[in-house]
């Protein structure tokens, strides 16, 4: 017992109060951090979103298609929007409502085999395999502005061919005044179609003279590669002087009609979206302004141009029409 070291002097004993308060500090700190993590986590879960996904790498074009020509007649020389933005910031409600949902979810879409049905006021109604259809036309690159009705815009290097070339080959009858284009309907591949948010399948349409305009494109690629699913593979419409929602994606049907087609957004909210949907800074969306837009990647807004800057080429299509009424 003698070998035991002497007890520490009583002056070195931590006072009970301090000893307890040290434990108290630690406990309170842990509880505070726990509360912070719980609250912060809940808020981020409710209001915040994770970073956008890295989209699956786009496929290169098949070897026999690589040699596309560049038709520069209508090209804009504005800087291109990045491929990452074009392929991760999409409105494609068939794959979800958030902008990055399509890039996340569209891998379920099977783009081959794929057929396109042609019907209505046409010489020979038929169903065409997409690869057969593509073999008919040389691909062109077109650099177009894309203006979304939500007041943002992009500059996109599309690959495709004029819709006019296809229409001429399909020989619509004299009764054909409009063409209606329809997206695939398959809730298995397009999970967003299980919600009744819009009337599925998505339908868009053009007056025949609009469809025959040389600006109007059927796109099968962008940035020199195969069109990614989230951008509307295998075949989508591009009408650069109209709001983006006119650009119906993953097309399975073309129907020529004598009467104006009933289009999806015009049915969903007729006061807010018209059949024509020409970009027009003078006609506001009832709930937001269309006078300006944010180019994706830019900080400051820019002025929106009539017909998205393509007025010289297309304004004559609408001469004599009241564009406030026919919005």
């Amino acid at each position: 017992m003698r070998d035991l070291p002497p007890e520490p002097p009583s002056s070195e004993i931590t006072p009970e109060g301090l000893y307890l308060s040290r434990r108290e500090y630690i406990k309170n700190g842990v509880y505070a951090l726990g509360t912070a993590a719980l609250l912060g986590g809940s808020l981020v879960w409710l209001a915040g979103q994770g970073p956008p996904p890295d989209p699956p790498p786009a496929e290169p074009l098949p070897a026999n298609r690589v040699a596309f020509t560049a038709n520069r007649t209508f090209d804009t020389d504005e800087p291109l929007t990045s491929e990452h933005s074009i392929t991760t910031y999409n409105n494609y409600y068939e794959f979800g409502l958030d902008k990055d949902d399509p890039a996340r979810n569209a891998h379920t879409l099977q783009t081959r085999p794929w057929t396109i049905t042609v019907e209505g006021e046409v010489a020979r109604p038929r169903t065409i395999d997409v690869d057969t259809l593509l073999s008919w036309f040389p691909l062109e690159e077109r650099v177009y502005r894309m203006r979304c009705v939500e007041a943002w815009s992009m500059v996109i290097p599309w690959l495709g061919f004029p819709l006019a070339d296809l229409i001429q080959r399909l020989e619509p009858t004299g009764n054909a005044k409009f063409v209606e284009l329809t997206t695939l309907l398959d809730p298995e591949q397009m999970p967003g179609q299980r919600s009744r948010i819009l009337r599925w399948p998505y339908v868009e349409g053009l007056r025949l003279d609009e469809a025959l305009h040389p600006l109007t494109l059927l796109a099968v690629g962008l940035y020199g590669k195969v069109l990614p699913n989230q951008n509307g593979a295998p075949l989508r419409l591009v009408v650069p002087w109209k709001y983006g929602f006119k650009g119906v994606k993953s097309i399975v049907k073309l129907r020529f009609t004598a009467t104006q087609p009933e289009t999806t957004w015009a049915l969903a909210a007729p006061r807010e979206y018209g059949f024509y949907a020409n970009v027009n800074p003078a006609v506001d969306h009832p709930r937001w302004s269309q006078a300006t837009e944010r180019r994706i990647g830019d900080f400051q807004r820019r002025k929106t141009l009539p017909f998205n800057g393509y007025a010289d080429a297309v304004a004559s299509l609408y001469s004599g029409m009241d564009l406030r009424k026919n919005f």
Binding site: E24, A32, T35, A36, L39, L43, R294, R301
Partner: protein, 225 residues
Amino acid sequence: MAASGQRSLIGRLPGLGRRAPRRREPLPWLKPGIFLGGLVPLAWLIIRAGTGALTANPIAQLENELGLTALIFLLAALACSPARRLLGWTWPMRVRRELGLFAFFYAALHFLAYLVLDQFFDWGAIGADIAQRPFILVGVLALLLMVPLAITSTNGWVRRLGYRRWQRIHQVVYLAGALAAVHFIWRVKLDVSQPLTYAAIFAGLLALRLALWLRKRYAGPAARR
């Protein structure tokens, strides 16, 4: 007394500097925890903005998330008093002011993002927006209504106004909440399920408050019968 002077100074930092276990504030970790947690959405936004992970349209994303965070804090603050009266919990009342101030903080950041980042001080466009677009008008009104509430949130103002009057003034928060809910519904392009969920929570909290008020008002005479 020196000790009491020290106590009051340190005591302003909630949860810290509690020396003796005697007469301590219950749950001293709660307020600092809420404070830190309330800053997480802002930190998460800043991190993602800095790393380019805030979608291809970061300004729109920033505005949306700041606005929604403000609404969530507002609903949380409104839930405190029903939680006490229905569940008997007392701790929510101790953080109600903090939650309300966070709601104002995020609403103000939401407006600043619109003013500076979205419109870049284009007063003409902002004036036209407020005059022509009901959804922006109600949003601005909701924020303006919250300003006096934030200013008079201190103990000093409660004393100066008297609790009854202070309480009546702060009932304006229900109007601000209703305007914020409408602002959210009108903003959405198509799918209103999320804003309607928040509006329903708001309506539920308002109905609860009304039911409790009616019971208090009529329970007295009924019990005496």
